[in-house]
């Protein structure tokens, strides 16, 4: 009850936070998506590079988010920019890994036939590997978006905006309701995004003859 009350009473504040949150997570998701897919495509052609790159990304992934933010402050200062960078770095793992897995798991006999029919290397990537990997790439993207939205909550600890600001303010002023309201909004936003992306995923899968 209190939560609904506070959401209504301070709707302007929450709306600002929510829009900030969307802006930060969307920027990070797009950055991680673009960089991650390109990286996945690049390393799919070089087995050795793939091991190294995936290894590095895995290690970075194990750094607690709060300390990654701390480590970034001397480099990029405090605020939204640092938050976006940190979130992008975390978002890379699921998307690079899924892109790589999807591209390299294409049935070898299909690849051989496509080559035998006269497909050049670029076309094998654009017409066979990428479309066949698309369902796996999209499911990685979906995981990544949900993770970024949840993690953006921490961004306000380094002065970035978003719903984390509500949580942070609630904690520092012993206002549990405020903290709970911020958390619930993040959860709702994450679930909603997940649901929308699952629709997109279903659409792509249907288009690509899966399920």
């Amino acid at each position: 009850m209190h939560i609904i009350q506070i959401l209504w009473d301070r709707r302007d504040f929450f709306l600002t936070c929510l829009l900030e949150h969307i802006r930060i997570s969307l920027t990070a998701a797009v950055c991680a998506g673009v960089i991650g897919i390109l990286t996945g495509i690049l390393i799919s052609r070089h087995k050795r590079a793939a091991g190294i790159v995936l290894g590095i990304i895995n290690v970075v992934y194990t750094i607690p988010s709060i300390s990654l933010l701390g480590l970034l402050i001397p480099l990029t200062g405090i605020g939204d920019k640092t938050a976006v960078i940190a979130l992008t770095v975390y978002g890379l793992l699921p998307i690079v890994r899924n892109t790589y897995t999807g591209l390299t798991n294409v049935d070898a006999s299909i690849l051989e036939v496509s080559e035998g029919l006269g497909t050049n290397q670029r076309q094998i990537m654009t017409r066979i590997r990428i479309p066949m990997a698309l369902p796996v790439i999209i499911s990685g993207f979906r995981n990544m978006v949900v993770m970024i939205i949840a993690m953006s909550g921490i961004a306000s600890f380094i002065g970035a905006g978003g719903l984390g600001a509500a949580i942070y303010r609630g904690i520092t002023t012993y206002n549990m309701t405020l903290t709970a309201a911020g958390s619930i909004l993040i959860a709702v936003f994450a679930l909603l995004s997940d649901w929308m992306l699952s629709k997109a995923e279903r659409m792509v899968n249907r288009r690509y003859g899966i399920e």
């Binding site: 006999s109 036939v113 035998g116 029919l117 006269g118 076309q123 066949m132 698309l134 003859g209």
Partner: protein, 241 residues
């Protein structure tokens, strides 16, 4: 008669394993040449030498008088039809997209062109035009194999390579497919290089038959020649099945 495919003293190796030993074979224009032999004797490897999926360690391959080592393999392959066991259709493409795949590699096709080509090819392999929008997984094994053949000949190649294309379909469908392929060959005058391990199929389709054993060509000739003068027990047993 002109030589369409010339395989000259070709040896093929996988690692240290020699799977073809100095094989020579010439295919004339318009021939329906069937290669038969037990599993693992090197039939697929020999076929892949013709479209450059396998490069000989020794010897040379010429297609239409062009040396494979010197030509643009990708462009050459677009002029050679290729159909394999289990069809291996592209699962993310509809029947229409699969059929228009090879011509679509070289140029952008309009929707109208694609539809016309698909219609024509589906008719040629005796499938209903209604199947054009289906995905491969929505087809029976026999239908997939027919689409696989349509995909292989859609750009009107003058050579067709077929690697046990009817190996994965039931007996009745196989008989029908064999008849259709035979009719297609007679109608178009296409040169066919066809692999099978079924001697009945080889006799039914082949204008000439090559028997392989352990990476070498053991005997070649027409059905009559093989029947009347089999080289040894191995050939005798093979053709009496």
């Amino acid at each position: 008669m002109s030589k369409v495919i010339e395989i000259q003293g070709c040896t093929a190796v996988y690692g240290r394993n020699e799977v073809l030993s100095r094989v020579s074979l010439t295919v004339e224009k318009g021939e329906f040449l069937v290669i038969i032999g037990p599993s693992g004797c090197g039939k697929t490897t020999l076929l892949k030498m013709v479209n450059g999926l396998m490069t000989p360690a020794e010897g040379e391959v010429l297609v239409n008088g062009e040396r494979l080592l010197e030509c643009d393999l990708t462009m050459l392959r677009r002029r050679i039809g290729y159909a394999v066991q289990g069809a291996k259709l592209f699962p993310h493409m509809t029947v229409m997209e699969n059929i228009c795949y090879v011509p679509g590699l070289s140029r952008k096709m309009t929707k109208g062109e694609k539809e016309a080509l698909t219609c024509k090819m589906l008719e040629m392999v005796e499938l209903s035009p209604d199947l054009a929008s289906r995905f491969p997984r929505q087809l029976s094994g026999g239908q997939q194999q027919r689409v696989g053949i349509a995909r292989a000949i859609a750009s009107e190649p003058d050579i067709l390579l077929m690697d046990e294309p009817f190996g994965a379909v039931d007996e009745i469908t196989r008989k029908a497919l064999q008849e259709e392929l035979s009719a297609l060959w007679q109608k178009t005058g296409i040169t066919v290089l066809f692999i099978t391990h079924d001697i009945g199929e080889a006799f039914k389709l082949g204008s000439r038959i090559v028997v392989m054993k352990d990476g070498v060509i053991w005997q070649e000739g027409t059905q009559e020649e093989l029947m009347s003068a089999p080289r040894d027990e191995f050939v005798k047993r093979l053709i009496s099945k």
